[in-house]
């Protein structure tokens, strides 16, 4: 294959909010709930990616709520995809850009950031096939799973990332099934890591740590191939908490071990923000209506699950962690 310089973009890490790109690419004027976690994720991703960006938006909250009606908040080009095919549409956009650049027909001087913003359903449930195939084929696309732990837009139904014990409209607690949700969730980054040879960078982010989030987006966009980010996106409506607590809920997820912040790069894991002493999961769960019905034995089961995750972190994390970063 003849070598061709597609002029991929590279990004530098930032140390503080002051250094963040000033322009907004996710503008005010969208029908997302007040305090929407996914919307905040979208805004920070768009801000970091900048003007030379094309978004692919599979159906979900970040499609329907953002684009009602016949208008969108994206200052950059964006295309709707079906919930089933975010990865495939992203592949098509990327492939077209490559050939148009080779033929000198592309209107622009840099390769655009091609970013798929898919929900948890559009990433690891109905969208899993397309996501995996895109990562396998090596398209230069950033696949983001914004995880609000449910099919939120259709009124909160269970998805493969919904936590054990969550009350959703497809897993309501009842006499026969007291927990509500019986199954433990899939682990999206683990589905990606190691199985897709051309993926060299995978990371988890959390809306409670925005600087870390933006730097991981930069790092992902600076890779020459496909990358995957798993973003926790607390959902006030779906999880049942006061909307002002969105960022705090994210932090609490990390502090209890429900969510770990890590990067996987070149085969190595790097964890950050590891709590010196983990808070009990009940502190996280009692703040959310979706867990209100649980009995102590269910909370204990969740704690056991999280303890298992924590032991994996402790076994894998390097002894010297990154210096604590402000927020």
């Amino acid at each position: 294959m003849k070598a061709f310089d597609y002029k991929f973009q590279t990004f530098e890490p930032i140390k503080s909010f002051k250094d963040a790109p000033k322009e907004e690419m996710y503008l005010p004027g969208h029908r997302t709930c007040a305090g929407c976690g996914p919307a905040l994720n979208y805004r920070l991703v768009a801000k970091t990616a900048g003007r030379d960006t094309i978004f692919i938006g599979p159906t979900g909250c970040m499609y329907v709520a953002n684009s009602s009606y016949l208008c969108t908040p994206y200052a950059v080009s964006w295309i709707h995809a079906q919930i089933t095919n975010g990865g495939a549409v992203g592949s098509g956009v990327e492939a077209a850009t490559k050939i148009l650049m080779r033929k000198g027909k592309y209107d622009g001087d840099k390769f655009p950031n091609v970013i798929v913003m898919a929900g948890d359903g559009g990433s690891v449930d109905i969208g899993l096939q397309a996501m995996s195939a895109m990562l396998y084929r090596g398209h230069k696309v950033l696949f983001i799973c914004y995880d609000n732990e449910s099919y939120a837009n259709t009124g909160i139904q269970t998805s493969p990332t919904t936590p054990y014990g969550a009350n959703t409209t497809f897993t309501p607690p009842g006499k026969e099934i007291p927990e509500g949700k019986v199954l433990f969730p899939k682990n999206p980054p683990q589905l990606v890591i190691g199985g897709h040879p051309l993926v060299k960078y995978v990371a988890t982010t959390n809306v409670g740590y925005p600087l870390d989030l933006m730097n991981k987006v930069s790092k992902a966009l600076s890779q020459p191939g496909p990358t995957f980010l798993h973003m926790l996106a607390p959902c006030p409506k779906g999880w049942g908490f006061d909307e002002k607590l969105t960022m705090e809920m994210g932090k609490l997820a990390v502090q209890t071990g429900m969510w770990s912040l890590y990067e996987w790069e070149g085969g190595e894991y790097k964890y950050t923000h590891i709590p010196k002493k983990y808070k009990p999961v009940s502190e996280y769960m009692t703040l959310q209506q979706r867990f209100r019905h649980l009995k102590p034995e269910h909370i204990a089961k969740m704690q056991a699950f999280v303890d298992e995750k924590i032991s994996v972190v402790k076994a894998t994390a390097k002894p010297i962690e990154a210096a604590p970063v402000k927020a």
Binding site: S77, W78, S91, A96, I99
Partner: protein, 395 residues
């Protein structure tokens, strides 16, 4: 120099895609269209064609990839067969309504259950309400020609719609026949480069497909229907240009074979029209005034052209190589719209239908002769006794 080669329908489709300089190709294997993609893969690998060859993970993905590619401004090509065509179903409306003029080459295959590699038209037929341009070819030459015409018509600014050129699996896709390939200059004159009106771009950002309200849905549908009113004229112009540049003689909508003074006629599309034509000659030699109307486009359906071509005929029989279980005539698909096209004539023909060639079976001249006998009997008795006859199954 125009090259004449012996090519199968699959090879002809690949050659047309190459001539059209397609930019993004998305493949997935399924009999009997796979050879189209195998040939394009070779062309890309040895540098004959500079295109992005994307290995789709399935037919649904194929149509999704070409949607993204077309939205980004590239000329995109894909294809499938049988259940592959139906697996991709979710994408047909978004592609048509989003006005992405991608091309899909279909080599027909009977739908499951269970696996049957033989050709039936039901696969591409099932897509007909989704808003695409769809038509059947009856020879490898016509596959090549129709593919170039499809891009020209589909990418016309007055149209901007995706297109399907279908060919019978095995009969056309796998049996070689003479194909005259176009010269580069001819193709360049006939087919301008693809220019989408609002591609996804950085310099002029756009949003493709925001959510709409129900009251915005109705005008969206109306505008799509409005486009189809403009398509026939574009088809006529493109066919005339094609005929002139490449030295062919296509009627835009219908091949009219010995129809002018016909008393009975066969209404047919696809490969079996070749046998039909031969049988018409045999019938004529035996003194029967038979003719054939071969449909080249089912979408847009040439309602008036059919009425004009067949209005004077006394009895018409449609040959159905597809199924419409529970349909009005309890048979195939063409009969419904054929009867609808002829309904308003003062002196309308008697119309019946024949299920034949299903599963990929051959239709023999004797079968067409039998059908002719049925049509002649209808003319004699001045009535249609049955909507449908299943050839070989208790007529």
């Amino acid at each position: 120099m125009a090259q004449e080669r012996m090519l199968t329908g699959c090879s002809a489709a690949a050659q047309a895609a190459k001539a059209a300089e397609v930019e993004v190709i998305c493949s997935y294997p399924i009999r009997p269209y796979t050879a189209i993609m195998m040939e394009l893969a070779k062309m890309v690998a040895n540098g004959e064609l500079d295109a992005e060859f994307v290995h789709g993970e399935g037919e649904h993905a194929q149509l999704s990839v070409v949607l993204g590619a077309s939205a980004a401004g590239a000329r995109a090509f894909t294809g499938s067969a049988g259940v592959g065509v139906t697996y991709a179903f979710e994408l047909y409306s978004p592609l048509a309504g989003g006005r992405y003029p991608v091309h899909m080459a279909i080599a027909d295959r009977t739908l499951d259950p269970p696996g049957d590699f033989g050709s039936e038209h039901t696969d591409a037929m099932s897509v007909r309400d989704q808003g695409w341009l769809i038509g059947w070819a009856c020879s490898p030459q016509e596959v090549y020609d129709n593919t170039l015409m499809a891009y020209r018509i589909g990418e016309d600014p007055r149209v901007m719609l995706p297109q399907i050129v279908a060919q019978d699996g095995y009969f056309i896709s796998h049996i070689p026949d003479k194909v005259l390939l176009g010269e580069t200059a001819q193709v360049k004159e006939f087919l301008p480069p693809y220019k989408g009106p609002h591609p996804l771009s950085v310099s002029c950002p756009v949003s493709h497909g925001p959510q709409i309200r129900p009251d915005q849905g109705a005008p969206m549908d109306a505008q799509r229907a409005q486009t189809f009113l403009a398509v026939p004229e574009v088809i006529e112009q493109a066919t005339a240009d094609f005929n002139r540049i490449f030295g062919r003689d296509y009627d835009p909508f219908l091949e009219k074979y010995k129809l002018e003074d016909a008393e009975i006629a066969f209404f047919i599309q696809g490969a079996h029209a070749n046998t039909c034509r031969k049988t018409v000659d045999m019938l004529r030699a035996a003194g029967v005034k038979a003719g054939m109307a071969r449909l080249r486009w089912i979408r847009p359906w040439p309602t008036h052209q059919i009425a004009e071509a067949l209005g004077h005929v006394k009895a018409v029989g449609s040959i159905e190589t597809s199924t419409s279980y529970g349909g009005a005539m309890r048979g195939g698909n063409l009969i419904h719209e054929l009867r609808a096209s002829l309904y308003d004539l003062d002196d309308r023909p008697l119309v019946t239908s024949f299920m034949a060639g299903l599963g990929g079976e051959t239709i023999y001249p004797d079968d067409f002769k039998y059908m002719a006998d049925v049509l002649l009997k209808m003319v004699k008795e001045k009535r249609v006794d049955r909507y449908v006859r299943w050839i070989g199954f208790g007529e």
